[in-house]
């Protein structure tokens, strides 16, 4: 019997099995941000165990609330900053160099095929786009990761999606993942890895693959995974060119991290996505999904483009292509948050920032901000946001507010109309 990619990564990283179905894995990366890490740090200090297993494998960023909005968030940043300095963690991204964790860490080339990655953040599953096993954990797992470089997992079963056909113009990775979450439900992939495979994935950019894997957790998935291929190698090439003579050599090495054809799956789903429509959520669960057509005309108060799901350059380009030479509706306010400083700079260079500003968008610095209702665009009670983020939970973007999740294209078109709108109206 063959093995899935998750099984192969588990086999290559297993330290031991102290109990049945308890796999303690060696970690290649421990990522940290200022919301979930400070309590791990203060707990380690209180225990007299203020140590780190390997400062080169720990990467840290202040991203959730930045610049600090009050004394409490300033203190969280300070704890992380002092700790990074104290332990010689060189890859610490402080204000001015900081971006949304699941955008900036891949951008810096920190994730490679076959890696094990944890972070005290549920959207860590994003990094599976590189053929890694990347899982969100709580503060205690993070604390042990920092201290010992290990984490314990029960063995995850794997669901496989084989996606065929071609996405129509105006339909993106976000629409696809919303559709798949609707099919799976919010509990459908609990304790499981989700593999995204097939010609649709082969044709996707790394950015789109990250959007897809990012929302695996919204179906309960431990990690979303795409197999590494030449697209992965091209994305990573500037970071790996000293390790390999040619890109083909890199590809040969990385394709070790692909599931065997006779691997065993919990379930295999096959879809032809050619007729997939733009999708949008309603209600308070990410599996409550309808087509944009069904939700068309639904009134909104705010538009938010950004986050670890859809704040990358590809997303900004798509949104800007719709907003160019147009103004947003007088009935909405709109916020765009490029996910990293590099994305911001590139958007500036390409004239995208000017397009957003001329359209009437507020352009913020890179931050998680409004996605989880912490800053930079929190809703008032009764308000509705068309958002490219990942969660429409009750109160997520502000108490009493409602969030409709959608692609950057749909969000941009909706900003122009002041109501949920199919972006294809602006492509004719």
């Amino acid at each position: 019997m063959g093995k899935t990619i998750a099984e192969k990564i588990f086999d290559a990283h297993r330290v031991n099995m102290p109990f049945p179905d308890t796999h303690v894995l060696k970690l290649d990366r421990v990522f940290c941000h200022e919301i979930t890490t400070p309590i791990a740090i203060t707990d380690l200090m209180a225990r007299g165990m203020d140590r780190v297993f390997d400062p080169t494998k720990i990467k840290a960023v202040i991203d959730h609330v930045t610049p600090a909005k009050d004394s409490k968030t300033a203190e969280q940043g300070k704890i992380l900053r002092d700790w990074a300095k104290r332990h010689g963690i060189k890859d610490f991204f402080d204000i001015g160099r900081n971006g949304v964790c699941h955008a900036i860490f891949p951008e810096k080339g920190f994730v490679r095929p076959g890696y094990t990655v944890i972070m005290g953040d549920s959207h860590t599953c994003t990094h599976g786009a590189f053929g890694a096993f990347a899982a969100g954990v709580g503060t205690t797992d993070l604390e042990v990761g920092i201290l010992k470089g290990v984490c314990a997992f029960h063995f995850p079963k794997t669901l496989k999606f084989v996606l065929r056909g071609t996405l129509k113009p105006g339909v993106y990775a976000k629409d696809l993942i919303l559709f798949l979450i609707k099919e799976l439900t919010v509990n459908g992939a609990t304790n499981m890895v989700i593999e995204f495979t097939g010609p649709v994935i082969d044709a996707m950019s790394m950015e789109s693959r990250m959007t897809l894997c990012n929302m695996a957790i919204e179906a309960g998935g431990t990690c979303g995974i795409c197999y590494p291929d030449m697209t992965t190698v091209e994305y990573l090439w500037e970071f790996i060119k000293d390790e390999f003579k040619t890109k083909e050599d890199a590809l040969k090495e990385y394709t070790k991290w692909v599931s065997d054809e006779d691997a065993s799956y919990e379930k295999v789903y096959e879809y032809d996505v050619t007729n997939l429509e733009p999708m949008v959520t309603f209600g308070y669960k990410p599996d409550q999904v309808k087509t944009v057509k069904e939700m068309s005309g639904s009134k909104i108060d705010q538009v938010y483009i950004g986050s670890c799901t859809n704040g990358r350059i590809e997303d900004l380009r798509i949104a800007a292509s719709i907003l160019k030479d147009k103004k947003i509706s007088d009935d909405v306010r709109a916020v765009v948050s490029p996910a990293t400083p590099a994305i911001y700079s590139l958007a500036l260079k390409e004239g995208l920032i000017e397009i957003f500003q001329n359209a009437g968008f507020c352009v913020t610095n890179p931050t998680c901000g409004a996605c989880l209702g912490m800053s930079n665009g929190v809703l008032a009670a009764g308000e509705v946001c068309a958002s490219t983020t990942n969660r429409n939970f009750n109160g997520r973007m502000g108490k009493g507010g409602t969030v409709h999740l959608m692609s950057p294209a749909t969000a941009a078109a909706s900003a122009l109309e002041g109501k949920i709108t199919n972006s294809q109206l602006y492509k004719a």
């Binding site: 969280q76 509990n187 009750n394």
Partner: protein, 174 residues
């Protein structure tokens, strides 16, 4: 070990997420105790009043996929500082479940029909539950009846409960 005994709070809904258990705006707190007043503040459940209904409870019984969404360990901490060290559900989101055991708390899974039975028989009554950790039994008691229900928990999870969490265990063994 923590205490695993006391009055039951029944939450009759699936997919209660960690944003509902403790909203993100309170994640700027850096002590667990500070989370106490905000437990289940954003829970979407008809008739539920978080401060009154949570008071003096020690066990939650709920439906499927409890603790989905954000990885925030603030969710188990908010339960813990309110004296709730046990959640019994049909199943849990992976991260929440692990966080509970990592804190030395119980996240106990029971089959759907058992959960249904607990709701039918005990919801609305003054009910108490005690976890008998040595015999893997849930002891349920109301004013007019008492019974024992079997549950299964892995060796790793049980060890974490007995050792009061993962940090101490990992430090000794890795």
């Amino acid at each position: 070990m923590k205490q695993f005994s006391g009055k039951v709070l029944f939450l009759d809904r699936c997919d209660i997420n960690t944003d509902e258990i403790i909203p993100a705006k309170y994640l700027t707190e850096i002590t667990k105790e500070a989370l106490k007043p905000y437990l289940l503040e954003d829970l979407s459940l008809t008739g539920f009043k978080n401060k009154e209904d949570v008071k003096d409870k020690a066990v939650i019984v709920t439906r499927a996929n409890f603790g989905c969404g954000s990885s925030r360990e603030h969710a188990p901490w908010a339960l813990e500082v309110n004296g709730i060290n046990v959640v019994i559900a049909e199943n849990f989101a992976r991260i929440f479940r692990q966080n509970m055991y990592n804190c030395g708390m119980f996240a106990i899974e029971l089959p759907k029909d058992k959960i249904e039975y607990l709701f039918e028989t005990y919801a609305g009554k003054d009910t108490s539950i005690t976890i008998d950790i040595d015999n893997d039994k849930i002891v349920v008691t109301s004013s007019d009846q008492s019974e024992k229900i079997d549950f299964k928990v892995g060796e790793f999870d049980k060890t974490l409960v007995k050792e009061e969490g993962w940090v101490g265990y990992a430090d000794k063994n890795y």
